[in-house]
């Protein structure tokens, strides 16, 4: 009996001293944290992906509260995972008006698939884009494009990017991508870009992008990859909104200025400019119209040529016989415009 009593008292005393110590330490080393930080953190998705630019959701919550105290607005802070809904909740918790940011997603800026970009060497080192990129220029003639070993796939926490076995290029799943930017950081060739989901307000996303980052001169780029941007500048000329710039032999479309009209897509000689489905419908129409125009121009040219030929040579040779070769002659110029 006595033993039990002593044990109880001793344990109780130890417990008491321990708790007192813990209490004192907690008092002494207390760090004040704004309670709002906890509240905001609870609203955030808790993915800790770092897509907002802060180390995890706690960092983001802290930044939100600080931004509110300093500027009374959330500024450019945005949680790409939660999107506008979550940011609206955060804003209302902090007593602010909800702003809105346009949804973004990762865009792969390389379309050098297996057919367009044949392999000239084989890499048999560690299966990682970073290792391959540090070792040599790449398995294909293009030193700028996708390496194809899937560092982006490994980096994605949302299962939103996958390798397409047929093309050898990664593809982004629009429904899952939250634009956290992890893949863009993982890519050693900087092929992936975070862009606006849609350039125009539309139920289905409308966006246009140059799917190439090759900075080589046109002929070199074209030799390495059939669908490379050759920096010819045709897209820049045809763009009515000054959204396209050509620098270092590669075109870039500013998605703030782009109106997704599709003119550049139909103009690109190598098919390096890509667009989403709704834009492509327009592009098909543009292309059809262009082809029709070209055919018409060709016909007219042939007619004119035939008339010109026929007038002086009418007496000597029947006009039908002369018309044939002129038509052949007219073809190359017509073809050029069609391209």
């Amino acid at each position: 009996m006595n033993v039990i009593l002593i044990a109880l008292i001793a344990l109780g005393a130890i417990g008491l001293i321990g708790s007192l110590l813990l209490y004192l330490v907690a008092k002494q080393f207390y760090v004040y944290e704004d309670p709002r930080v906890g509240q905001v953190e609870e609203l955030l998705p808790g993915a800790n992906c770092g897509g907002c630019g802060f180390p995890g959701c706690h960092g983001m919550a802290d930044a939100c509260v600080k931004a509110k105290d300093a500027t009374n607005s959330l500024g450019t802070l945005f949680c790409p995972v939660g999107g506008n809904d979550v940011m609206a909740n955060v804003a209302s918790t902090l007593g602010l008006e909800a702003g809105s940011a346009e949804p973004k997603l990762a865009v792969v800026r390389c379309n050098g698939n297996i057919c367009a970009r044949p392999k000239v060497a084989v890499f048999d080192g560690a299966k990682s884009c970073a290792v391959a990129a540090a070792t040599f220029s790449g398995e294909t003639g293009c030193a700028f494009g996708c390496v194809g070993l899937g560092d982006c796939v490994k980096s994605c926490q949302f299962d939103a990017i996958h390798m397409n076995v047929e093309t050898g290029l990664p593809e982004v799943d629009e429904t899952k991508c939250v634009a956290c930017g992890a893949c863009a950081k993982a890519c050693p060739k900087f092929v992936i870009e975070i862009r606006k989901k849609s350039s125009m307000k539309s139920p289905t996303p409308k966006r246009v992008w140059v799917s190439c980052v090759n900075k080589d001169k046109g002929a070199v780029a074209r030799k390495a990859c059939a669908s490379a941007c050759i920096g010819c500048g045709k897209c820049q000329k045809v763009c009515k909104f000054e959204a396209i710039t050509v620098e270092n032999n590669v075109a870039f479309i500013d998605n703030e200025k782009c109106k997704a009209c599709g003119m550049c897509v139909s103009e690109c000689p190598t098919g390096a400019i890509h667009a989403t489905e709704p834009v492509m419908i327009v592009v098909e129409k543009l292309k059809a119209k262009k082809a029709a125009d070209a055919a018409k121009a060709k016909e007219e040219a042939a007619k004119k040529a035939a008339e010109a030929q026929a007038a002086p040579a009418a007496e000597a040779v029947p006009s039908d016989a002369k018309a044939e070769p002129t038509e052949v002659k007219a073809e190359p110029s017509a073809k050029k415009t069609a391209e």
Binding site: V120, A121, D124, G125, A126, S128, A130, V131, A134, T135, F136, S137, G138, E139, A143, D216
Partner: protein, 462 residues
């Protein structure tokens, strides 16, 4: 016989071109001289299309402190300044020169006579070495003038000449020693003078008995302060830190410079280049390169001008065999596999190795079986199994704790791994990242110290 203490492996030597004499490679109709031929900043081209150049004319100026001059290796007209692929397929600027005749700058002494008298003083030697574009010829291409001006705290005691050539297949240093023993000794004396020391060692691995004997004979004939040190066969004995350990038994402190041990290490090819630069006023415009491989018809040692197409050299050695799986610039252990043979001779290219398909392919990697062979093999006493995993998982703090920055990238770990794991591939990923962190930390600490000092001074002024 001496050797280094820790680790090391024994790859098959395969010195196929050991007996081959040095052949002068033909000068092609057009050369392309890359501007990135040294460790550090690439050089800046200072010629333009249409300029006439002679052999030895400066065509590139240093692009920074850690950089060097580049000279024309041929005489002719500059065709264009464009880009070429380097050994790894990356684009680097280069000067294309159309060859016309073979006219040399008048200042270059082209006679065969050996100039023994060293007239220049310490600083003049260093300036001359810089002016003549000399870089480390072992393959790392570290600008020699920078190495010859160590930090003032260093106390140099001796010069160690690296004639180990522990890389399998390569014989360029070996053939150089057989052809120019006395010039090398004078080059060593020049290096001694530049460093202000009076002791030198020449480390040669025991698989080159003819070179050891010849060098010993030459040294005995009039270079008493030079000692020829035969070394036991072991890779990577040619590593700077390993060589110092093997020859004088000292260890380079972790994170420190090799000069901290009092030894300045220079490659035997560099010693020869220094002789030619200082005594003959000849810039670095050509070097000996081994073209070899089991399937190569005629493994050879060529004296090739810089900027000669690699494909030409392979053709001169009997052409590229049908079943080639890999062409490597350098040796099989540390060399770089070339994506194609469109590159050009550079100062650091000591060998072109052609490998057959079945030799070249890596076997499939398996899981680590924790046998610790890589740990035994590592000449720096590291744990490559952990380092590679840390790098792969981006665990940089752990990698730093395990001293990833001490890795010399010799590849002994990967060579010894029974599971064929790409250990070095991954370590090479982590090492620069950790080095970057260390540099950033040092810079931050310096900035902080400077700010504190400034604040203190300001307070004192008040």
């Amino acid at each position: 016989m001496k050797t280094f203490k820790l680790g090391g492996v024994h790859p098959a030597a395969n010195k196929l071109s050991a007996g081959a004499p040095i052949e002068v490679a033909a000068v092609p109709a057009m050369v392309a001289i890359p501007m990135a031929q040294n460790l550090g900043a690439p050089s800046k081209a200072i010629v333009a299309k249409g300029d006439k150049v002679k052999v030895g004319t400066v065509i590139g100026e240093p692009g920074g402190f850690l950089s060097s001059y580049v000279h024309s290796s041929v005489s002719g007209t500059v065709d264009k300044v464009d880009v070429v692929e380097d050994a790894t397929g990356k684009k680097v600027p280069a000067v294309f020169i159309k060859v016309e005749g073979d006219e040399w700058e008048e200042s270059i002494n082209r006679t065969k006579e050996i100039v023994r008298d060293i007239k220049l003083d310490k600083q003049q030697i260093i300036d001359k070495v810089k002016e003549m574009g000399i870089v480390g010829m072992g393959g790392a291409t570290f600008p020699t003038q920078v190495k010859l001006t160590p930090p003032p705290t260093a106390k140099p005691e001796c010069v160690i000449i690296n004639a180990v050539e522990c890389e399998p297949y390569l014989t360029s240093d070996h053939s150089l020693m057989l052809a120019h023993p006395e010039e090398i000794c004078i080059g060593v004396q020049i290096l001694e003078k530049a460093m202000g020391v009076n002791k030198a060692y020449i480390g040669i691995e025991a698989n080159k008995p003819d070179a050891i004997e010849l060098m010993r004979k030459t040294v005995a004939a009039g270079y008493p302060e030079i000692e020829v040190v035969p070394l036991q066969l072991k890779y990577p004995q040619g590593g700077e830190k390993q060589l110092i350990n093997a020859v004088i038994g000292r260890e380079v402190p972790s994170g420190g410079l090799p000069i901290a041990t009092g030894a300045l290490v220079q490659n035997v090819g560099t010693a020869f280049a220094v002789y030619e630069a200082v005594q003959k006023n000849k810039p670095l415009i050509e070097r000996i390169v081994t073209v070899t491989g089991k399937s190569v018809a005629k493994p050879s040692n060529f004296l090739a001008r810089l900027g000669v197409p690699i494909a030409d050299l392979i053709a001169a050695a009997g052409g590229l065999p049908e079943d080639t799986g890999k062409v490597i610039s350098g040796g099989p252990m540390m060399g770089k596999a070339m994506p194609d043979t469109n590159s050009y001779m550079v100062k650091g290219c000591s060998g072109i190795l052609v490998m057959k398909n079945e030799e070249a392919r890596r076997r499939e990697a398996g899981p680590c079986i924790k046998c610790a062979k890589c740990v035994h093999a590592c000449p720096m006493g590291l744990q490559p199994n952990f380092l590679s995993r840390y790098s792969e998982l981006n665990m940089l703090a752990e990698a730093e704790e395990e001293r990833i920055y001490d890795c010399i990238e010799c590849g002994s770990c990967q060579f010894s791994c029974p599971a064929n794991r790409p250990l070095l591939d991954w370590i090479r990923q982590g090492k620069p990242k950790v080095m970057g962190i260390l540099r950033q930390r040092a810079a931050d600490a310096k900035a902080k110290a400077d700010a504190e000092k400034a604040a203190k001074e300001a307070a004192a002024a008040k």
